[in-house]
Amino acid sequence: MTRFILARCGQSALVLLVMSFVIYSLIGLMPGDPIDVMIASNPGATPEVVAHLRAIYGLDQPILLRYGHWLAAALRGDFGYSRTHAQPVLTVLLPALLQTCKLMLTSFVVSVVLAFALGVWASLKPGGVADSIISLFAFAGISVPVFWLALVLILVFAVTWHVLPASGIGTFGDGGVTDQLRHLILPVTTLALANIGSFTRFIRAAMIETMRMDHIRTARAKGAGERRVVLVHALRNAMIPVVTVIALSFGGLFSGALITETMFAQPGMGKMIYDAILGNDFNLALTGLLFATLVTLLGNLLADLAYGWLDPRIKL
């Protein structure tokens, strides 16, 4: 087990190194540079000023050299300054990460809990009334565009009924838990509704498959109650494919939800990374994307460990 974890950590470090180079190069290939963005509306920017600014921001150097400087500093724990926020990268990234954690983890927990309940319920009688209604709900969740769902929720709960704030992270000067929760309700609902559909379908399918297996028949033959059969004998076995899906989604959690964050003005990781890429903010974009990559790798590692726990026959 320890050797497996160490080997995976080594692989992850290599993947991160390769990814950092690929991301840096790809951002560098984008047309224009930060100075173009900076001087676009500046009538006072003479060619001399432009040249000087490029030198100050290190943009007059070849991209490989710039990447080398960045990597050397990053290995010392210095991720540089964000150009679009005019602050050290970690100062910008950490609050965004915190906001993303609040939003995404809440919606993730809500989605998984509800999806398990609905998926298991639907699998009990495939084709029954409950299954049909839950499937309809799941397909609606999968099909409805997130931005549209967000707008509808805003229009209903904020514009028409005036019961929830339309956007933002809290009221300035309040900062209480209740106030923050009120601001989370609509974005969490949007994200949860979008995720529940796909999770429910996976859980339903896995459960239907498991419920047909021999060990379930054996459990029933031994007189186990239906609740015990479903929750103890079937659910654990059905978890293996579901864990894969959830683990892959886990990585996406920390890269944020761009559309939801944009619609509800939640300054999270998704929005931060997107703006950094558009604003040619190399340091911030790179650090944000690498962090998302790291979490995805960690999610996969956890999934592999979970397989071993769920099915002792799987050797790591």
Binding site: G168, F172, I185, M263, P267, K271
Partner: protein, 551 residues
């Protein structure tokens, strides 16, 4: 169930304020400033936000007249505050005296003094400080501090813009930061405007920054040391919502009270739609601005070399109908780059009218006759056809483009649409001048700024000038260059206006660019807000925000 329960629980807490209880103003903005430093990374949204908290020495007001904000009197030759002088090394320069208003204080109670002017000039003149907007201060070669309130700035040459001066920086806060900055660029990273933006001593305006969440909101509260008209709000919140549909929904829900109209809020079509649906819920103000929508024509394109072809293109475009249909007539048609509200506008410059028959006749005169497919051809069999680009994804622009394509086709001109994302268009195609025919976008300038950057021959982007200019068409005219230079150094307002008229005539005669219309700022404000006066130019209305108050 959870959602409904939460709604019921919180409904009471979200009740709308009763009339007369508007002590907080929440403003929706679709962009967020990357830096709060007045001279780093110039952005419209930064100017807008900083207008509340830090004032320029002078600014153009809502009537486009230069006025004193921090000074007692605008320097002029007549009042003796501006004088011609001989520079130490020879040549003529100017001495401009700035006298600060009495009682000016930074937000921590420290007085604003002439030493702050000298400090700002020193910092602005140091290339290592990384100012991207250094030009206002680099005009001066030296600064004499006469007393606490008086400074004399010695200019490098005779300049028509000698009476225009930007924000000054607090030496007692930024001095130590600048002193610690060892390497070029260190100051940008260390400045308190970025590292500690809620420091009261950074600001000398009617409001101070009380809260700052990067990318999310800026909270402003009255400056207790402000000596001017007392601000009308206990708190102003600038809230960043960059999706304009969500911004609109926030406006309707009452989560934001107004949307900034300086190009950092809703688009004009969204405001027009909002006005149609909710005519009485808000006050709608459309202020023509200095931003002019136009089509650049590539000078090197042989088909566009003949001025008769360029003129025919403009005659073929029905700009008034375009403005009436798409913008309900709120955006004035442009004859040149100079807005009729500008003090330098010359009404006698002939405007090209929509005349499709005249356009066809002019093209025939230039050797272009319609072929069987309706597109003109010349004697060599070349089709009168151009690539026509603009910013992809900008719905309004793409709509305009379709109308223009149809207009031009009626005059036997074919245009092939080739749009690119804004980043590619501005960062590559225009910068490297790799477009081949026509490109539509907008350009903004200051009230009295000459067209040096856009029409000066020295400003044609090329590797030699580090792609620094913005004369993307590649227009080169010695008379225009001479007029630009003369206008920049002409102190007599009458003479200057004559030179400006001449430049407008050259533009109208040569048509290196097809002018379309001036964009209007679309402001949506609450009906209970008084004293709101948008300007339509680079000095935002927030420079007078102390006059904003609830009814």
């Amino acid at each position: 169930m959870t959602l409904v329960a939460a709604c019921l629980l919180t409904a009471a807490a979200n009740a709308a304020p009763a009339p007369g209880q508007h002590d907080t103003l929440t403003i929706g903005i679709a962009q967020f400033p990357s830096s709060l430093h007045p001279d780093i990374d110039p952005e419209v949204v930064r100017s807008y936000a900083m207008g509340f908290v830090i004032r320029p020495i002078t600014a153009f007001d809502a009537n486009w007249q230069n006025t004193c904000l921090l000074c007692t009197e605008l320097p002029t030759l007549e009042n003796g505050l501006a004088k011609l002088e001989t520079r130490p090394g020879g040549g003529q320069g100017m001495a401009v005296t700035i006298t600060l208003k009495p009682g000016l204080s930074w937000g921590d109670g420290e007085p604003v003094t002439a030493r702050d002017i000298a400090f700002t000039w020193r910092l602005g003149g140091n290339p290592a400080s990384g100012f991207s907007n250094a030009n206002p201060w680099s005009r001066a070669t030296s600064v004499d501090v006469v007393d606490d309130r008086t400074a004399v700035l010695h200019l490098d040459r005779v300049r028509a813009d000698y009476a225009q001066w930007d924000q000054i920086l607090p030496e007692h806060i930024e001095g130590p930061v600048a002193a610690r900055a060892a390497a070029p660029g260190d100051y940008i990273n260390a400045t308190s405007f970025n590292r500690a933006p809620v420091t009261p001593g950074l600001y000398d305006g009617p409001y101070l920054i009380a809260g700052y969440d990067s990318g999310s909101r800026i909270v402003l509260e009255p400056n207790p040391h402000w000596s001017g008209t007392q601000p009308g709000f206990r708190r102003i919140v600038l809230r960043h919502i960059d999706n304009t549909a969500a911004l609109q929904a926030n406006l309707l829900s009452g989560d934001v009270d107004m949307v900034a109209g300086e190009g950092i809020g809703l688009t004009i079509d969204q405001v027009l739609a909002l006005q149609k649906q909710h005519p009485d819920s808000f006050r709608y103000t459309f202020k023509p601005s200095l931003t002019y929508e136009h089509i650049d024509l590539k000078a090197e394109n042989p088909l566009l070399a003949d001025v008769r072809v360029r003129r025919a293109l403009l005659m073929a475009i029905d700009r008034q109908t375009l403005v009436d249909r798409l913008f309900h007539g709120t955006q004035p048609v442009a004859a040149t780059w100079v807005n009729p509200l500008s003090p330098n506008y010359d009404a006698s410059v002939p405007a090209v009218k929509f005349d499709p028959a005249g356009a066809r006749a002019l093209l025939k005169d230039a050797g272009w006759t319609p072929g069987e497919d309706g597109i003109c051809r010349n004697a060599a069999g070349e089709r009168l056809s151009f690539e026509f680009g603009t910013t992809a994804g900008n719905r309004l622009r793409e709509l305009q483009q379709q109308v223009l394509q149809s207009n031009l086709k009626n005059a036997c001109v074919e245009v092939t649409i080739k749009n690119e994302p804004a980043r590619t268009l501005f960062g590559e195609t225009l910068k490297k001048r790799s477009f081949t025919g026509m490109v539509m976008y907008s350009w903004s300038s200051n009230v009295t700024e000459t067209p040096l950057r856009t029409l000066g021959s020295s400003q044609i982007p090329a590797a030699a000038n580090n792609y620094g200019g913005a004369n993307y068409p590649g227009f080169a005219d010695p008379k225009m260059d001479a007029d630009i230079a003369a206008a920049e150094g002409e102190l007599d307002p009458v003479q200057r206006k004559r030179i400006w008229a001449e430049m407008q005539r050259i533009y109208a005669d040569r048509l290196p660019v097809l002018p379309l219309f001036f964009r209007s700022e679309a402001h949506v404000t609450p009906t209970w807000l008084q004293g709101y006066a948008p300007t339509g130019h680079a000095d935002p209305g927030t420079d007078w925000a102390e006059n904003w108050r609830p009814k």
